[in-house]
């Protein structure tokens, strides 16, 4: 191909970039918090614009509580040496653990959709830390989790849930499940950024979710399960979280399960959060 260049550019003249100073252009903590705040507002306004996106958070706790309490409550309650009421106190703390997992999964699918939009290009061309986009999302999702947990507890009280400890310990149980749920969100954000479609994220998430949820102490005590499954439930972090929440609400030893749950949450976050941020940075 013939190249016809009219003499306007000066070839050979090397551009002279200004010298790089260490830390120049870095984003300070205050600015970072302000950016996260602006992005939290964006996510919250999206919910306001699209209230249907709250249906899962509003209905999931109601439906799960009714189903599990009335389907399994009688028989599992009896084996716990009580009745359906005994099962309410067993399953509600377990459902707190499960709720976090389900909401975290939705973050992954939502993220995948969100990241196809042009507005992400704009965020990536702006002088903001790229992690702030992800952190804002997590802040809003923790808010959604809190709403779901409040409804779950409300349903529990209607069905006869008794707090045998104190409000402080109840708050501890809620906090623990939020912390663990938030760490799971990083996994699903990473999945959402890696996989091509929201459907693929959903598919993979379901495959992982089912065994983790049911192969745990969430719905029934593992004591009647075969040995190999008991081993699995012992190491399943959801069991630890369910046991911790149960202990904090019903009394009993909690230290071990609380620490194991916190260790899981910290471990998952430390490994997956940097990966997710790096993935977001590179995505083009």
């Amino acid at each position: 191909m013939s190249t016809t260049t009219l003499p306007t550019s000066a070839p050979g003249r090397t551009p002279a970039p200004s010298p790089v100073r260490a830390g120049e252009g870095r984003i300070g903590l205050r600015a970072n918090l302000r950016h996260i705040g602006a992005l939290v507002r964006r996510n919250a306004l999206q919910i306001k614009q699209d209230p249907e996106s709250m249906f899962d958070v509003l209905l999931m706790p109601v439906i799960f509580t009714l189903l599990f309490v009335y389907v399994f409550g009688g028989s599992v309650g009896a084996s716990l040496g009580g009745s359906r009421d005994a099962y309410v106190n067993y399953v509600i703390p377990g459902l707190m653990a499960m709720m976090g997992m389900n909401i975290a999964m939705a973050v992954g699918t939502g993220m995948n959709d969100d990241f196809r939009k042009g507005v992400m290009d704009r965020f990536r061309t702006m002088p903001i830390a790229r992690s702030s986009v992800l952190i804002a999302k997590i802040v809003v999702e923790i808010g959604r989790m809190l709403v779901a947990t409040a409804i779950l507890l409300g349903m529990g009280f209607l069905l006869g849930l008794e707090i045998k400890t104190s409000v402080l310990e109840l708050a501890g149980a809620v906090g623990l499940s939020l912390a663990f749920g938030a760490s799971l969100m990083w996994i699903f954000i990473l999945l959402g950024l890696t996989m091509k479609t929201a459907q693929a994220v959903q598919g993979v998430a379901m495959l992982v979710l089912m065994p983790l949820q049911f192969g745990s102490s969430i719905f029934a005590p593992p004591s009647t399960m075969p040995g190999w499954l008991q081993t699995f439930t012992d190491y399943n972090p959801l069991s630890n979280l369910a046991d911790a929440a149960r202990g904090l609400i019903n009394g009993g030893p909690v230290a071990h399960s609380v620490w194991v749950t916190l260790a899981w949450a910290a471990g998952i976050t430390v490994v997956t959060a940097p990966l997710a941020v790096a993935k977001f940075r590179k995505k083009s």
């Binding site: 191909m1 013939s2 190249t3 016809t4 260049t5 009219l6 003499p7 306007t8 550019s9 000066a10 070839p11 003249r13 090397t14 551009p15 002279a16 970039p17 200004s18 790089v20 120049e24 252009g25 870095r26 984003i27 600015a31 302000r34 950016h35 705040g37 602006a38 992005l39 507002r41 964006r42 306004l45 999206q46 614009q49 699209d50 939009k117 042009g118 507005v119 992400m120 290009d121 704009r122 965020f123 990536r124 061309t125 702006m126 002088p127 903001i128 083009s284």
Partner: protein, 341 residues
């Protein structure tokens, strides 16, 4: 009215954008070269039009210059900042409006602008004022509270432009800003771009339309298959490709040959290519300047020829390519653009 602040640390060469030997390859060593050694400059305070068909590499160029994509080789310096080494500083000086509006569809126009203002470290008050001001300027005040998804294509594009303006960028990239817009909306966008330039912004505009490039840009770079195939001032390039064509429809089609002869006899530069097409009842006269146009029309009037219709026609991108390279555009499926003036 607000002024666009020139970046004080801008390049000392007088160029807001300097690109040298830029290469970007997609899909491994055997993949396609989206950019294959591109050099270009945009002088501060001017508009450079980057003209090329679909797939020429225009969007890749813009994405590299806005730090969204990393080049495989070459350098690019914007407002004195290197795209690879100083992306954070560079992001403070640029604004980007893409082919696809990059606003949040679920947020209202006002909320979109306010959010961007806050992300650019404006105070709450300043972000509020700036959002109001820009909505006003882009005639979106009435739709300020409506979610962007309810906006028409033109309104969305205007909101996108407004969003790019919040930080008063010294360099603006407009990636095919009017593709898919109707002519009226296109004119509105052009007016805004001209206003930004009048206020001192440097603009890199990519387009497939010769007319758009001519309207907005002072300099042009034509790229095809990731390479620069021509660059220069708009007038230089126009002279090269032959400028406009005058179309004349005589009242009496029988006079076509006589008119053609009369024009050819003037001996004006360029008009020797005059063609009479009896099937269409049209006379095509290549013209190089407004003076030639006036002369041709004046001559026909003097000789008493009746004229039913008259119009001018800019060369299409295809014709530009044909003139420069002697071959059709590499992407054969682009529709030849008939651009009426």
């Amino acid at each position: 009215m607000t002024r666009i602040d020139k970046n004080p640390s801008g390049s000392r060469t007088g160029n807001a954008v300097e690109v040298r030997g830029l290469v970007k390859q997609y899909g491994g060593p055997q993949g396609t070269r989206a950019l294959d050694g591109v050099d270009l400059d945009v002088r501060e305070g001017t508009v450079l039009g980057v003209l090329g068909p679909n797939g020429a590499g225009k969007t890749t160029l813009v994405r590299i210059l806005s730090t969204l994509v990393q080049p495989d080789a070459g350098t690019a310096v914007v407002a004195g900042y290197d795209v690879l080494r100083q992306p954070r500083q560079l992001r403070r000086t640029i604004g980007l409006t893409g082919q696809y509006a990059s606003v949040d569809e679920k947020l209202s126009g006002w909320e979109n602008l306010y959010m961007i203002g806050r992300l650019l470290d404006l105070s709450r008050r300043d972000a509020r004022l700036r959002s109001d001001e820009l909505l006003e300027r882009f005639s979106l005040t009435d739709a300020a509270k409506k979610p962007a998804m309810q906006y028409s294509g033109g309104m969305r594009r205007r909101l996108d432009l407004a969003a790019s303006m919040i930080g008063r960028p010294s360099v603006l990239y407009l990636d095919e800003p009017t593709t898919g817009l109707d002519p009226r909306t296109r004119n509105e966008v052009w007016d805004e771009v001209q206003r930004m330039v009048a206020e001192g912004a440097t603009v890199l505009l990519t387009t497939q339309y010769m007319e758009e490039a001519e309207q907005l840009a002072s300099e042009l770079t034509v790229i095809d298959r990731g390479r620069v195939i021509a660059s220069g001032g708009v007038n230089e390039l126009k002279a090269k490709v032959g400028g406009r064509t005058l179309q004349i429809r005589p009242s009496d089609p029988a006079q076509l040959p006589a008119m053609a002869r009369a024009i050819a006899e003037t001996g004006l530069d360029g008009v020797s290519g005059t063609q009479a097409v009896p099937d269409e009842g049209l006379l095509y006269v290549p013209i190089l300047s407004d003076e030639q146009l006036t002369a041709v029309v004046g001559l026909l009037g003097e000789r008493g020829f009746g004229i039913a219709h008259i119009g001018t026609h800019l060369p299409s991108l295809d014709e530009v390519f044909l003139a420069i390279t002697g071959q059709k555009t590499s992407v054969s499926d682009i529709a030849p653009e008939e651009i009426a003036v």
